[in-house]
Structure formats: structure tokens, C-alpha cells
């Protein structure tokens, strides 16, 4: 083949497909490494990945499409539809040149049923017999040559985990894309397969025959493994299972909190320094402000989420690979079911207590679309770590002169209030806008395995890129807009307080203040609420500025708390009487005060409708909750 012809020909595309839990993605990661990107397929929430693979042995660069794992190609579920569309070329208009069917060699009977459906398509095929390292060690292991004769296509034993057999797979893929595949080749292959309209039972009996002929001494088909049975019984037990899950998750999140805080502080520091440097390098004025306060601070605001996101996905990937996550989802299923959610919703909701962004991004584990939407909708109700500084400030004001246990109880109350509001909202949504039958849970529980570190790292890398590319750009744009709102029109003095009040944001606060008056908020507090719309923790620094403490206010600084607590209203009475502080606290527990979350919701749901609903509903609930809290504290205070 001449070099010119090589260049003219587009990169051959190979569809990679197989059952879930066959190590398909591990194999894909092995082949493509970091040369892969996540692709959202049009009209579907299911995602796949596209990567390029240049085999060291061959001359061809291949484009691999990692399709979602599916149990069957003929059923009407999103995963199967995407696989079918891809094989027929109707997914994105590019018909694949070949397919790579990944089978789990340790579970051939079921995997062969899928292979039969896949091989019935008119495409040259290679079958990868994955998990070969485990299968080979078992007695009565299948003979790849014999299996190849029975399937009418090359069969290559590989292991995505150890990398064994990859060279042979390269050769097979290189060969198969070069070979012509005519109608006669398809007919020859179809003769070896069960008929196209075969029932699942017929497929099963065909698969059984093939397995027996290819592995003459097959061991007992469902060998007793009472140790694994006992572990499974314990891990899915209504009490023991949930307790184990709670401990695991507590460990996971404390690890994330502890480990992520170091790089997060570092990022804060670096971007703070960078902002100073930018300010110093540019002439004093608008441009310096825009770069320092708008752009650099905006980028910092995006990147600061990265450590938590990376750690969460890294650890979750390890847990998922180990086989434990499926058991945990099964164990909490019955609790979540009461709220119209199911087991797989639990992890996203729990991770939202660290930050709603990774929580919402991890809802992809949920198979049912409506359930996934409901989980995304309620995730921001969970008290995330960004609310913590606000809680510290407001509870600090509230608990002046109260016994020591009061503050602790208030913290617990905030977390419980958020979680309850979220779960009840989920229940409401599942009865109204997201009504639909609860998808009965039937879940494959994959075998326990030692997780693959390399694979977890690649998953983390991929998630981080998705976050930066999609959410990051939106967050940055919003940050610049918010900066503009609080920086214009320009005040003339260096007085931060006057600037804050005179800016568009301040004027907006003034205008909106009557709406918040029933909650006991004055215009200063309203400005605080409005500016914290960008991100909740901004509330603390805004209130600090308004109280005259300077813009570098930090909640750990005792004087700030005192100054904010003593802030006077226009009429001289304190801003934060107990009723107002309680109302503000409830408002911050329940309100959607986080633009990045809205941006991620938009990206994950594919429309502005859901972020709009999310924002509208949460603000409504927060307002109502704050109103009730204000009235309750006032009545209680009056009685006491």
C-alpha cells in the first residue's frame, strides 16, 4: 500500500462492545490510554468513549469506540440502542469498519449469548477473550482455537488487567480491518450462529453447546462458593450491610476531606499569589481588576474543585472495580425506594455532602433516566462543604450565650434538614414531574477482584477533563459576569463598603430587599445573599466587607464574627437578631446558592429546563423555610 493511499483513507473505526462487567473498559483503557475522550451520543444520556490506538506491531492507527456495556443487543434499553445504532452507522454517521467483541472468559455461557447477537451484524469481527489470566488458572478452560472455529472469527485470549495477549490482539485487529468482508463471509458465519429470531432460551442452549465443545472438561456450572455467599449475605444484610456501607463511606469522605484540603489550600494560595502578581504587572485600573478579580479568581474558583472531584472518582472507581459498590447499592436499595429513588442513587447523594458537582457527575451510575434526573435535582440540597463557613458564621451568631451543645446540635440540624428536604423533594418529583414506575432492581453483582490502579487513574483523568472542559468554561464566564456586577459602576473611593453598596449588585440588593423583608433581612443582608449566589462561601467575605472588616475576611478570624454579629441596621438595631439569623441559616441550608452546580446540572441533563426547575424549587423551599424559621423563632422568643 502506498503512503498516499494510506493518507487518503480515514482511520478505520472499530466498535468495542460486550456485556457489562467484562472488563471491556479496562481493555479499552489498556489499548488507548490517555488518547481517549468521552463522547455523549446524540439523543441519549448514555455515554461512550472514543480513542485512538496505534499498535506497535502494525502500521495502522485505529479509532476505537467504547460502547456502553449491554446484556443484549435486541432489548429496548438505552445501552442496547446505542450499540445497535453504532453497528449500523446511524449513531454519528460513521459506520464502523470492524467490531471487537469482548467476552469474559470466566463466564462464557452468558457472554456467548451476547456474542451471537453481535456477530449476526455484517462486520468483520475479532473476539477478545478477556480475563484470560483468571480463566486460564481454572480447570477445564476453554480452547480459543476451538472457539474460533465455532464462531467463525478470530478469538484472542487477552487480559486487560495484566496486558497479556495484547500483541496478538493488535495483529488480529490490523488484519481484520484490511480484509474484505463480503456477503459470503457473513453467510458462512451466520450458519454457525443461532437463528436471528432466537429466544433467550435458544441462545442459552446454543451457548451451552459451544462452551461444551470448546471446553471439553467444563467444571460444574454454578459451583458452590459458600464463602462468597456468606460475604454477600453480610454485605447486603438490612442492618450489617448498611452499617458496613456507612463506615466505608465515612472513611471515603473523611479521606477526601483530609487529603483534598491540602491541594485545595495550595490552589487557593497559588491563585491568590497569581492574582497579586497580575495586579502588580498591570497598570492600576480596570484591566488589572478584570484580570485579577475576574479571570484569575474565576479560574481559581474552577480549579479548586478539582482535587475533590479527582479523589472521589479515583476512590469510587477502586470501590466499583472491587465489586463492593454493587453490593452496597443493593443493600441501600430498600431505604432509597421509599423516596422514589434506588440503591444506585445513594452514592451521588452522599458525595454531594462534600460537593454537589462530583455528586451530580457520578449520577451516571444510575440506569433509569427519571431516577437519575430526580437524583440530580435533589443533590444540591445536601449540605456541601462550601456551606460550612456560612454555617460557622451564622451558628456562631445564634449560639452566643447558649450552652456549648447548642452549636453542635445546630450543625447536625442543618445537615439533617438538607437531607430531609432533598429526599422529600425526590419523593415529590417522582410523584409529579418525574413520575414513572420504580425500576425494579435487578443488579449484576460482579465477582470480588483486586481493583486495577491504572484503570482508576485513567477514569479520574477522564472525569477531570470532562469537568474542566464543560463545567469549567461556564463557571469561568459566570465568575466574570458576577465580578462585573459587583465592580460597576465604579465608586471613587477605596472604600470597599461604598463600592459594594453602589455597584449593580448593591443596587440589585436594594431593589430586591422588600422581597426578603418578611424574613427579617435588611438590604445589607440581601446583598450578601445575592453575591453568594456565585458561591455560598462568598457570603462570609461579603458580610465581612459590609461590616467594615476588609475584604480578606476569614471566618476563623474571631473579630470578623463579632463585627458581623454587631452589624447595625439603618435604624441602629442589630442586623442579626436571633430570628433573622435563624432565617438566614435555614435559607442557606436549602437555597440553590451555587452557580457551578447549575452549570453542571445543565451539562448533565442536556437542557436549561432542569437547572431552572432546580433553582426555582430550591429558592421557593428556602424562602418558605426561612419564613417559617423567622416566625417560629420570633414566636418562641416572644413566649420565653
Amino acid at each position: 500500500m502506498s503512503a498516499g493511499a494510506d493518507a487518503a483513507r480515514p482511520t478505520p473505526r472499530i466498535a468495542v462492545l460486550g456485556n457489562p462487567n467484562t472488563g471491556k473498559t479496562t481493555l479499552f483503557n489498556r489499548l488507548c490510554g490517555v488518547r481517549a475522550r468521552t463522547a455523549n451520543f446524540p439523543g441519549s444520556t448514555v455515554e461512550g468513549r472514543i480513542g485512538t490506538h496505534r499498535s506497535p506491531a502494525g502500521h495502522v492507527e485505529l479509532e476505537l469506540v467504547d460502547l456502553p456495556g449491554s446484556y443484549s443487543l435486541t432489548i429496548d434499553v438505552p445501552e442496547a440502542r446505542v450499540c445497535r445504532d453504532c453497528l449500523q452507522g446511524s449513531l454519528d454517521g460513521v459506520e464502523p469498519d470492524a467490531m471487537l467483541v469482548v467476552l469474559d472468559a470466566t463466564n462464557l455461557r452468558r457472554n456467548l449469548q451476547f456474542a451471537a447477537q453481535a456477530l449476526a451484524h455484517r462486520l468483520p469481527a475479532v473476539v477478545a477473550l478477556n480475563m484470560w489470566d483468571t480463566a486460564r488458572a481454572r480447570p477445564g478452560c476453554v480452547d480459543p482455537a476451538q472457539l474460533s472455529r465455532r464462531l467463525g472469527c478470530p478469538v484472542v485470549p487477552v487480559s486487560g488487567r495484566t496486558g497479556e495477549g495484547l500483541a496478538a490482539l493488535d495483529v488480529a485487529l490490523d488484519t481484520v480491518v484490511d480484509l474484505p468482508f463480503g456477503a459470503d463471509a457473513l453467510v458462512a458465519r451466520l450458519q454457525k450462529l443461532p437463528p436471528a429470531d432466537a429466544t433467550q432460551a435458544m441462545l442459552a442452549s446454543w451457548a451451552d453447546q459451544v462452551t461444551r465443545s470448546a471446553a471439553p472438561a467444563t467444571p460444574a456450572r454454578d459451583a458452590d462458593d459458600s464463602f462468597v455467599d456468606r460475604v454477600d449475605v453480610a454485605l447486603t444484610h438490612p442492618f450489617v450491610g448498611i452499617a458496613v456501607f456507612a463506615v466505608t463511606m465515612a472513611a471515603l469522605f473523611s479521606a477526601i476531606f483530609m487529603v483534598a484540603s491540602v491541594p485545595m489550600d495550595l490552589i487557593d494560595l497559588v491563585f491568590g499569589r497569581a492574582a497579586e502578581a497580575v495586579r502588580a504587572a498591570l497598570p492600576e485600573g480596570l484591566l488589572a481588576d478584570l484580570f485579577a478579580d475576574g479571570i484569575v479568581a474565576g479560574i481559581g474558583g474552577v480549579v479548586v474543585f478539582l482535587p475533590q472531584i479527582c479523589l472521589l472518582f479515583f476512590l469510587l472507581s477502586l470501590l466499583e472495580d472491587s465489586g463492593y459498590l454493587a453490593r452496597a447499592a443493593f443493600a441501600v436499595d430498600r431505604v432509597m425506594r421509599r423516596f422514589g429513588l434506588s440503591g444506585p442513587s445513594f452514592v451521588p447523594l452522599l458525595s454531594s455532602h462534600a460537593c454537589a458537582l462530583p455528586g451530580i457527575m457520578s449520577t451516571r451510575l444510575i440506569r433509569d433516566d427519571r431516577e437519575r434526573m430526580a437524583t440530580i435535582l435533589v443533590a444540591p440540597f445536601m449540605s456541601c462543604s462550601a456551606r460550612l463557613p456560612v454555617y460557622v458564621l451564622l451558628i456562631g451568631i445564634l449560639s452566643v450565650g447558649k450552652p456549648a451543645w447548642f452549636a453542635g446540635l445546630a450543625f447536625v440540624g442543618c445537615y439533617a434538614l438538607g437531607a430531609m428536604a432533598g429526599l422529600l423533594t425526590a419523593l415529590l418529583a417522582r410523584r409529579t414531574v418525574l413520575r414513572g414506575p420504580a425500576r425494579p432492581l435487578v443488579l449484576e453483582l460482579p465477582p470480588y477482584r483486586v481493583p486495577a490502579l491504572r484503570n482508576a487513574l485513567l477514569v479520574t483523568w477522564d472525569r477531570a477533563l470532562v469537568f474542566l472542559r464543560n463545567a469549567g468554561t461556564t463557571i469561568l464566564a459566570i465568575s466574570v459576569v458576577m465580578w462585573w456586577l459587583s465592580a460597576f459602576p465604579r465608586g471613587d473611593g477605596p472604600d470597599a463598603r461604598a463600592q459594594q453598596a453602589g455597584s449593580f449588585a448593591g443596587q440589585l440588593g436594594e431593589a430586591v430587599a422588600p422581597a426578603f423583608a418578611p424574613l427579617g433581612f435588611d438590604s445589607q443582608l440581601t446583598v450578601g445573599v445575592l453575591t453568594s449566589f456565585l458561591a455560598r462561601e462568598v457570603f462570609v467575605s461579603t458580610m465581612g466587607v459590609l461590616a467594615g472588616a476588609g475584604s480578606d475576611a476569614d471566618v476563623s478570624d474571631r473579630t470578623v464574627l463579632e463585627q458581623v454579629a454587631a452589624m447595625p441596621r439603618a435604624d441602629g438595631t442589630p442586623v442579626f437578631d436571633p430570628a433573622t439569623a435563624a432565617a438566614a441559616l435555614v435559607f442557606f441550608v436549602l437555597a440553590m446558592q451555587c452557580l457551578p452546580t447549575l452549570a453542571v446540572t445543565r451539562r448533565e441533563t442536556g437542557s436549561w429546563k432542569w437547572p431552572a426547575i432546580q433553582f426555582g424549587w430550591m429558592t421557593l423551599v428556602a424562602y418558605a423555610g426561612a419564613l417559617v424559621a423567622h416566625a417560629a423563632v420570633r414566636a418562641w422568643g416572644g413566649a420565653a
Binding site: 432489548i75 434499553v77 452468558r110 432460551a201 454454578d222 454477600d232 443488579l443 453483582l445
Partner: protein
């Protein structure tokens, strides 16, 4: 037994409800009585009685049970204790009948939820018709189709079963619908 007495004590299904269900739904096989509020899908004690009621209805007589309710409940307690301690393997074909001339009963179909840990059984999916189409097909594709053999890893509802080398976690509402014919321990299908 009086009409208001419970036949299925696990799910509190009275004789009257079962009579009405038989009259209204005219089930073709006795196991469809489980659709009457889940009758027979708990401990399994009442399954032979449900069978008897169904046979009576099929023969055109009013379904009734002669046993006193007190005796019935007492025997059930003994049955459940025995099952817990391992003296009973499966629901007795008719625990109160003492007719020695009865021919051996045909293989008993019971809900999946009644099997013990480690027990094997052959699956019958005919009761799954009211599941959504997609879910039913998914279940089939995961390996749970008619005549497949399963092994119980974690009994009850929800439960975990193993089919070939695949372990499936099955939620309560699906598990109650899956009917199985238990296999004797030595009666495993040849690999």
C-alpha cells in the same frame, strides 16, 4: 375455618379474599393465587392449602378448609420452627392430610423467596408478565429465563442468586414473582 380467618398468615390473606379472588380471576394454576395480596409467598406454609382451595374451585365447589383456625395456626408455628432448625426442607405437600394412599405430588413450584441458601432450582418466568417489557427482557438477557438453573446465594426477599457464573441481586418485588421448582441436592442438572 371461618371466612375471616387468615389462610396466609404472613400476608394476612383471609379465606374470604381468596374465595373472591378465585371467583373473580379464575386462575388457571394454583400459583396464581399469589397475586391475591401475595398469598403463599411468605413462609410457604399455606401453599398446599391454596392448592386445595384452587382444586375445590376448579371442581365447582365452594373453596373451604375444614381445619380449625387455632390448630392451623399452631401447626404453622411448628412448621416455621422446624424450617428454622432445618428439620423441614420445603413446604410439606399437605401438612395436615394424613392420607397414606396419596400418590407423590408433582414437583412443587414455589416463589424464589422460599428457597434456602445454597439450594438449587429450575426457573419459571411465567409470572413475570406484569413487569415492564424492558425489565423482563433485561432479566432474560442477564440469564434469568425459563428453565435455567439457579443457586440461591442469599435467601429471602430481596435475594441474591447465581446463574452459571453470574450473581444477580434481585429486589423483593421481582423475587416474589419468580417461581421455581426446587431440586434435590443430588438432583443437579449435569454440567
Amino acid at each position: 375455618m371461618r371466612p375471616d380467618d387468615h389462610v396466609c398468615l404472613c400476608f394476612r390473606v383471609s379465606l374470604r379474599k381468596l374465595q373472591n379472588h378465585l371467583e373473580r380471576e379464575r386462575p388457571t394454576v394454583a400459583s396464581q393465587l399469589s397475586e391475591c395480596l401475595g398469598a403463599g409467598t411468605g413462609c410457604g406454609w399455606c401453599v398446599p392449602f391454596l392448592r386445595r382451595l384452587h382444586a375445590q374451585h376448579a371442581a365447582g365447589t365452594l373453596p373451604a378448609l375444614d381445619e380449625s383456625h387455632e390448630e392451623y395456626a399452631r401447626r404453622r408455628t411448628a412448621y416455621r420452627t422446624g424450617r428454622r432448625e432445618g428439620t423441614y426442607d420445603r413446604p410439606p405437600s399437605d401438612p395436615m392430610a394424613s392420607d397414606p394412599d396419596r400418590s407423590p405430588a408433582p414437583p412443587v413450584r414455589v416463589p424464589l423467596t422460599q428457597l434456602r441458601r445454597g439450594q438449587r432450582a429450575i426457573v419459571d418466568c411465567s409470572n413475570l408478565a406484569d413487569l415492564p417489557e424492558g425489565e423482563r427482557c433485561l432479566l432474560h438477557a442477564m440469564g434469568m429465563h425459563d428453565d435455567c438453573q439457579l443457586r440461591v446465594c442469599s435467601p429471602g426477599a430481596p435475594c441474591i442468586v447465581q446463574i452459571d457464573d453470574t450473581r444477580l441481586g434481585i429486589s423483593a418485588e421481582v423475587a416474589r414473582r419468580i417461581m421455581v421448582t426446587p431440586l434435590e441436592d443430588g438432583d443437579r442438572r449435569a454440567p
